[in-house]
């Protein structure tokens, strides 16, 4: 793209405009669909969970794809986010029943949802800062295993009975606000405007927008330089420790916010569900989407969630066509098919759906066409 003339820049602007139009259409589409379709439709489950996973996947991509830090601590940071959100938003009057083994718990106040979400991000970022100090000095696979271990430590701490008054021990946290509470209701409790899918979309959109802005700033270029060649980047005057720490904290901040969203989606939070398997799942989403592409991560999050929750569900049930019972189909087959698809992507389509391209790049005219003009 070196010889991009005035014409090329013009076309690129066209790409940007088309991108904005597409994004706007998606939001309008989500809003309209929500008003028209029944709220129990599978579509909304997929959209809500997809939006949550999209944010977490993009935050992981910021580290693994753009900074070249192979971190596997995502589940741990999500756990922190989910817990902080839940702890501070459970209404005071129901705390007694949630913290039934701990006399209603220690925290006896409730924060508004947006404040709690920012707080959950900040808490995750703070832990990331602490763990980043020793761990970020490590190289690729050691870093991976150290962050993985850190996530396991966090999981154990949150399950510790002595912290029960705050974290409810290994018991479930529940009765905090959920996505459905964003719907606007009238006095009788009838829903006037459905917002339960649009709001997660807005949160994810805002957060991903911030990440994209960061990636386009000088910091973003520095991060990419670190990914491509650490030593060269250092020689160019980029402070490695500072930039890695920054990327790690920012990524964890958004993972924390994603954790809060996951809490709202699931309506309950329990530490034992934030396993390494969850991190692996998010990593595989990032890989399928293309390591180093924000658009790819978002697309593949929705694809992944749609396949696992909706489109491939039929593989888990016995199917009879006429008199013929399709063999192999029973509980768990969906996941087998899924794993095989993932292995094929990992082995043969290593660039994933998008490679390193973004949405505007798709509308950039090919060089040949540009040359013909």
């Amino acid at each position: 793209m070196a010889a991009k003339g005035k014409d090329g820049r013009e076309k690129n602007r066209r790409g940007a405009v088309i991108t904005w139009v597409i994004i706007a259409l998606i939001y309008v589409g989500v809003f309209v669909a929500e008003q028209l379709l029944p709220p129990t439709s599978m579509l909304f489950t997929v959209l809500k969970k997809g939006a949550t996973y999209a944010l977490v996947a993009v935050s992981m991509n910021l580290l693994n794809g753009f900074t070249g830090i192979f971190s596997l601590g995502q589940a741990g940071f999500m756990l922190i986010g989910a817990y902080v959100f839940a702890i501070f938003t459970i209404p005071v009057e129901v705390r007694g029943s949630v913290y039934q083994y701990f006399d209603g718990g220690l925290v006896q106040f409730t924060l508004p949802v947006p404040v709690a979400m920012v707080l959950s991000g900040l808490a995750a970022a703070f832990f990331a800062f602490l763990i980043g100090l020793p761990v970020l000095r490590l190289k690729s696979d050691y870093l991976a295993i150290a962050t993985l271990g850190f996530a396991e430590i966090i999981r154990a701490i949150f399950q510790w009975n002595q912290l029960g008054p705050v974290t409810n021990g290994s018991n479930m946290l529940r009765l905090f606000p959920k996505f459905n509470d964003f719907n606007i209701t009238d006095a009788q409790g009838n829903v006037i405007v459905y917002l339960s899918t649009l709001v997660p979309f807005l949160i994810t959109g805002l957060c991903i927008g911030l990440i994209v802005l960061l990636l386009h700033s000088g910091y973003g270029r520095a991060l990419r330089a670190i990914r491509d060649d650490e030593i060269a980047a250092e020689a160019m005057g980029i402070n490695l420790a500072h930039h890695k720490q920054l990327a790690f904290c920012i990524s964890s901040f958004f993972a924390g916010v994603g954790g809060a969203m996951l809490a709202m989606y699931q309506t309950t939070v329990q530490a034992k569900s934030f396993t390494t398997a969850m991190t692996y799942e998010i990593l595989l989403i990032v890989v399928i989407g293309g390591i180093g592409s924000v658009t790819g991560s978002v697309l593949s999050s929705f694809l992944f969630v749609a396949c696992s929750e909706w489109w491939l569900r039929f593989l888990d049930e016995q199917q009879v066509i006429g008199d013929f019972q399709v063999p192999l189909l029973r509980n768990g087959f969906r996941l087998v098919v899924f794993s095989i698809i993932i292995m094929v992507v990992v082995l043969f389509f290593r660039r994933g759906i998008m490679g390193t391209r973004e949405l505007p790049d798709l509308f950039r005219p090919r060089r040949k066409e540009a040359a013909l003009k």
């Binding site: 693994n64 192979f70 763990i131 020793p134 761990v135 000095r137 490590l138 690729s140 696979d141 050691y142 991976a144 295993i145 150290a146 993985l148 271990g149 850190f150 396991e152 430590i153 999981r155 154990a156 701490i157 399950q159 510790w160 009975n161 002595q162 030593i231 390494t276 398997a277 692996y280 799942e281 990593l283 595989l284 890989v287 390591i291 029973r330 509980n331 768990g332 087959f333 996941l335 087998v336 899924f338 794993s339 095989i340 993932i342 292995m343 990992v346 082995l347 290593r350």
Partner: protein, 307 residues
């Protein structure tokens, strides 16, 4: 005091031996491919599942146990050929992702086959017998594990130091490209490494599941990770290091499991603190500490990165 600690110490040594057998697989593969084989813990779990199904088919034990070892070794060989060999020249991150993919696939495959239910591991006579040592009553496997582990490790070290294939392994782990130029068939060396590692993991699984007799698709994840930590702790690439690391981790973990009881009996604490929650977390804390203080581990060689 001693009577309280002794049973935990004993089971720690036993678990340590089982971790050691898994850790060798990690450390050998890392030594040669510079790859954390995330699927190794799942190979260990698959060995358990294979045993469950073979025993259910009614074959006698002297057939099933060797068969489990052979099948597991074959699985290890297949995984390497299918998932790692095509990525030989790819960046390290891709191979690691492929390993995570294999781990995911194995777990889901077992979930599909078993229906996600706990499977009862068959009782192996003689090694499941109870014995009483000092103040502790335990299964005979607890005593056999460390002995068997040490015998196998000695055999392995002899294999690596005295045979031609062992020499090839050492050469490949020193310098991948040069050994290729010297006419070493890299692919067969790597295959032998995977076969050996999986074989030892299968031995480990027979011992481990005799103590913890249920198998489910996730039962390989934790032992796998801990064995990896043991390998790092001892200095990755070093077989004696991995074994010593595994014993240390096994013992520490079990002591922490019993720490509430031990401290209570010693009169340090008056009510249980629930410290057993941290038996897994402790392993990882140890990992982070060792990585920060001495990244090469106890016996690891210092590797210099050339620019």
């Amino acid at each position: 005091m001693w009577n309280t600690i002794f049973p935990y110490l004993l089971s720690g040594i036993s678990v340590g031996g089982q971790y050691a057998l898994i850790a060798i697989g990690y450390t050998m593969v890392y030594g040669i491919l510079r790859l954390i084989n995330f699927a190794h813990g799942d190979v260990f779990m698959v060995a358990g599942i294979v045993m469950v199904y073979l025993a259910a088919s009614g074959l006698p034990l002297y057939v099933t146990i060797p068969l489990v070892l052979v099948i597991t070794a074959a699985i290890g060989f297949l995984i390497e050929r299918v998932a790692y060999k095509p990525l030989r020249s790819a960046p390290r991150m891709s191979v690691m992702i492929s390993a995570i993919g294999v781990s995911y696939t194995l777990q889901n495959l077992v979930l599909y086959i078993t229906g996600g239910l706990n499977k009862q591991y068959p009782t192996i006579p003689w090694i499941s017998d109870s014995v009483t040592i000092g103040s502790a009553t335990t299964k005979l496997v607890t005593v056999i594990t460390p002995v068997l582990t040490i015998v196998l490790v000695v055999a392995l070290v002899l294999l690596i130091n005295k045979t031609k294939i062992g020499m090839a392994m050492r050469a490949v782990s020193k310098d991948f490209e040069t050994s290729q130029l010297m006419g070493i068939k890299i692919n067969s060396v790597i295959s032998v490494t995977f076969v050996t590692g999986s074989f030892l993991a299968a031995v480990g699984s027979v011992l481990y599941f005799t103590n913890y007799p249920t198998v489910i698709q996730t039962s390989g994840a934790m032992p796998g990770l801990k064995a990896f930590v043991a390998a790092v702790f001892g200095g990755i690439g070093s077989i004696p290091g991995a074994v010593i690391g595994a014993f240390i981790i096994g013992i520490m973990e079990n002591i922490i499991k019993g720490l509430d009881v031990i401290l209570f009996k010693a009169g340090v604490i008056s009510k249980p603190l629930g410290l057993a929650t941290f038996s897994d977390a402790f392993t990882f804390a140890l990992l982070i500490i060792i990585l920060v203080v001495k990244p090469t581990g106890l016996f690891g060689e210092k590797a210099t990165d050339k620019v």
